[in-house]
Subunit: 532 residues, 2 copies
């Protein structure tokens, strides 16, 4: 492998990624994503299929006025229909209308598809490829050719599959991209077939892999080892069925594992941000466990792991998290030991040495609570409060005197109403409030805020972002315990809190009350930070 | 490759999988998962780390009384500490106490870990490995040896890394498992290193890969090509950081892509069900795009794809979805739906032909309900009731007039009390009852039974077995909805029912009411069957 080779990153998040179930981008969304991809250092951005989708026509019009630092925008479409000529084919026309310098044209390589899906002769298909590519070249476009189902086609009839590539090459295609459209090819087949193609084709090659056998990243890198120049994929691997090759893993693997430059080290530090941005725009929950960019990618839970990582991060981290814009996290659970407690305390600005007897006591309490069903990994807010309470470093913002929640359904065809009353004491003042809500927890939240906001106006900034319920020890039916996890946030930060009880309302109350206490602790801490 | 080789599936969902962020299994959960893994055909089930966690000790005690068809339960732990002897080491003692035939012992292969994490000499580490393995062998255990960080260790010092394996082998380890603990190794390195090890080690080899570079499945299969016998992984790839090698992809890849038997074709048809079961127990949202088992894995969205797939499924499907218990979905077509509805109706002893206009109507209602968040996969009871209601074949057992639930906490240090009132009509009689319970849903259940049992004494046989709550992701700007799934059973059968609402009490009511209605339908049906 030469370290001088520069791999081309070809992003198809906006085209193949948009074919994922539940994903739909507006033209404006696409422009914002394209700008982010440009910042990340993608060389080519496939913006859409102007012949198939009116929104894509808007995108190509809008993107013309947006300055991009390096990325080239590419329009995507198919070779002409057999019943048309290149001059009257609507797809080719829409590709020209998109007015991009680069066009990617896809055609058939698999004899089964030619005969069964298109219903034309093998010879006719070669004509479509050759004259469609030549037509676009003649109109001044730089043309890339996507050989759809190339690997399946090569297995079925290697000679014919190769002929389709040679036609595209003869007509002037600058890149020949080998597609594993159905995503079922194994890495050792990719290696063999790419090597065979590289012996026959002069044009630079590309790889476009799908993930139906969980092999898309491996297949892409192995193709690159065999001489492929361009790698196609999507951010977070989104795409039809099981998705496309995941550029969020391919790009750092190229840099760190293969020492093949594609984007710069500075650009690579945007990787996590771009990944989360695309998830946000696509309205998908980011996958915590995603390699390199996920929240858990550098999170350590087992006590043995935490001890070792604190001594030397290399022991359980294959690359530096900061190199892709991520960070190391230590999770609190009963797998943890005293040194991880001490590390957490430090994070919370609390003094707690590993040998302090309180550390042992805290660890025992933690294990006991986890046995009862508490879980603090997603509830660091509650964990900090627990630590402060046990170390005598917490002054409660309020004291609960009682609550009552009523859910009443008066007729079978009416929605029930939910009403909550709360009695709390702040200093020496007793507040008794009532509120309704869309459900009992929502009503309880409203009543609690109503009681506290006049004392603590900053609570108006707090929003409930997520509410999760887990039923524990499931074989006892409704008498089993319930764990409630709440995520809250203000304009600066997010925090999680937890409650556990046989009664879902009590568990919800605990998590709600902790959320509000945590907001106070956090605000006091950051005002101290500011003055230090 | 010989097609006779039988690959060993070693599942560590319950140990390494449990180290995933946000995953926490109770001992009861673990027993249920182990039974499912046994049905899937796993050969070994690593149940936990009895030295690290009190819950795992409970699991090993409980699993002894559970009959498993083929799977062997394995306890996991580390080689002794350098400061202990094998006779006073608590981890080795807890492994013996777990009382399993098989034990997996892990030790260090990487010089960095020996010196930096353990802080002992390289020679001392070899002693720990050898005498820990030998001690367990001497106690009659069959011992597998996990060589932690083997690939990193081999890169740093191949001779030393090999020596650690040879010590374990000499002491009697029956399997030597090469671990890519940090998950950063590339497939071509795995191939080179496994081939080198296979030349030096006589004992059968295993592979344990992590997914930090999105290579865990590829690395596992390539190790198998190089002669490895045992593959370790987890269902859905859950595990610390980016997870473990995903058995839900590895098992079908072995069968379909490598023609290497591991589980039987019949067992493989449980794959999707086991994957969803583990996600459910771990309270994780199943990944729609997961290879083989995800809802989108065989879902077709693009018009071109749908046309082609309807002509020949091979055109865009690399394997048959039914072979892994999945199904093809056309995201814009209802064609497949009507015939499966007709099949379901037959199962319920209801006449519904595919061409009946009611079938189309039912399908539209079903789609609408699924859009609202209902899910009938785990709630066939509710699905049968839906079908009967829409076809005019259901006579309700009771009519709801209203309910009210009160949860009241009178003092901060007291448990809240829950009281429910229910008003229902049976025939022309109105019943108005009140009951308490451990939580609001339990109280509602008690009040409803109190009202109905005098009319329907067979309700005394019904037990609530499971109660699950899932908060459905809110679309932008809407309040989030809650889905409640209830599993009920009598001495003959189990059934699931579902409710969805913005209000958790309303959703619970729907599922409770359906559970009782279904009991009646079921009893009427089986009394008819008996007389037929």
């Amino acid at each position: 492998m030469s370290t001088q080779k520069h791999i081309e990153i070809y992003d198809t998040t906006l085209r193949d990624g948009a074919q994922a179930e539940d994903v739909s981008f507006s033209a404006e969304d696409k422009v914002r994503v394209a700008q982010k991809l440009d910042e990340l250092g993608a060389h080519f951005i496939e913006g859409g299929w102007p012949g198939a989708n009116p929104r894509d026509i808007d995108f190509f019009r809008m993107i013309k006025t947006v300055p991009l630092a390096q990325a080239k925008v590419v329009a995507f479409g198919s070779t002409r229909r057999a019943t048309n000529t290149v001059h009257n084919d609507p797809v080719l026309k829409s590709l020209l209308d998109a007015d991009t310098r680069y066009v990617t044209l896809f055609g058939k390589s698999w004899n089964l598809h030619v005969t069964d899906a298109l219903g034309i002769s093998l010879k006719k298909n070669l004509e479509l490829i050759e004259d469609s590519v030549a037509f676009l070249k003649g109109k001044g476009r730089r043309v890339f050719y996507d050989a759809e189902h190339f690997f399946d086609g090569y297995r079925a009839d290697p000679d014919y599959a190769l002929q389709t590539l040679l036609k595209a090459q003869a007509a002037g295609a600058e890149r020949i991209i080998l597609c594993d459209t159905n995503g079922g090819t194994m890495p050792w087949e990719v290696r063999r077939i790419v090597a065979a193609v590289a012996r026959e084709v002069r044009a630079a090659l590309g790889i476009h892999a799908h993930n139906d056998a969980e092999m898309a990243v491996a297949n892409s890198l192995i193709a690159i080892q065999e001489g492929v120049l361009q790698v196609q994929g999507t951010i977070n691997g989104i795409g039809e069925r099981c998705g496309n090759a995941n550029l969020s893993s391919i790009i750092p693997n190229l840099s760190f594992k293969m020492k093949l430059p594609s984007v710069t080290p500075e650009q690579l530090r945007n990787l996590r941000e771009v990944s989360h941005f695309v998830a946000e725009i696509a309205n998908l929950v980011p996958n915590k466990h995603q390699p390199y960019v996920g929240d858990s990618a550098f999170a350590h839970k087992g006590g043995v792991h935490i001890d070792a990582v604190r001594k030397n991060a290399l022991t359980y981290e294959h690359v530096r998290p900061e190199s892709v814009g991520n960070r190391q996290r230590m999770l609190i659970s009963d797998y943890a030991g005293k040194s991880s407690l001490a590390a957490k305390a430090e994070e919370f600005h609390i003094t707690l040495r590993k040998k302090d007897p309180k550390a042992k006591e805290l660890l025992a309490t933690l294990k006991d609570l986890e046995n009862q069903g508490y879980q603090f990994e997603g509830a660091e807010g509650s964990f900090e409060l627990l630590m402060r309470r046990m170390l005598g470093k917490h002054k409660p913002a309020f004291e609960l005197m009682g609550f009552r929640v009523i859910v009443e359904k008066r007729r079978a065809d009416e929605d029930p109403i939910s009403e909550a009353t709360v009695m709390v004491k702040v200093g020496s003042t007793v507040e008794h409030t009532v509120a309704v809500g869309t459900g009992p927890v929502n009503a309880l939240d409203h009543a609690l805020r109503k009681a506290l906001e006049k004392f603590y106006p900053q609570l108006r900034e707090v929003k409930l972002l997520d509410y999760k319920v887990r039923v524990l020890a499931a074989n006892k039916g409704t008498a089993s315990r319930v764990r409630v996890l709440i995520e809250s946030g203000d304009h600066k930060e997010k925090w999680g809190t937890v409650g556990v009880s046989e009664n879902i309302m009590e568990a919800s109350w605990q998590a709600l009350a902790d959320s509000i206490e945590y907001k106070m602790v956090k605000d006091r801490r950051s005002s101290k930070d500011g003055s230090a």
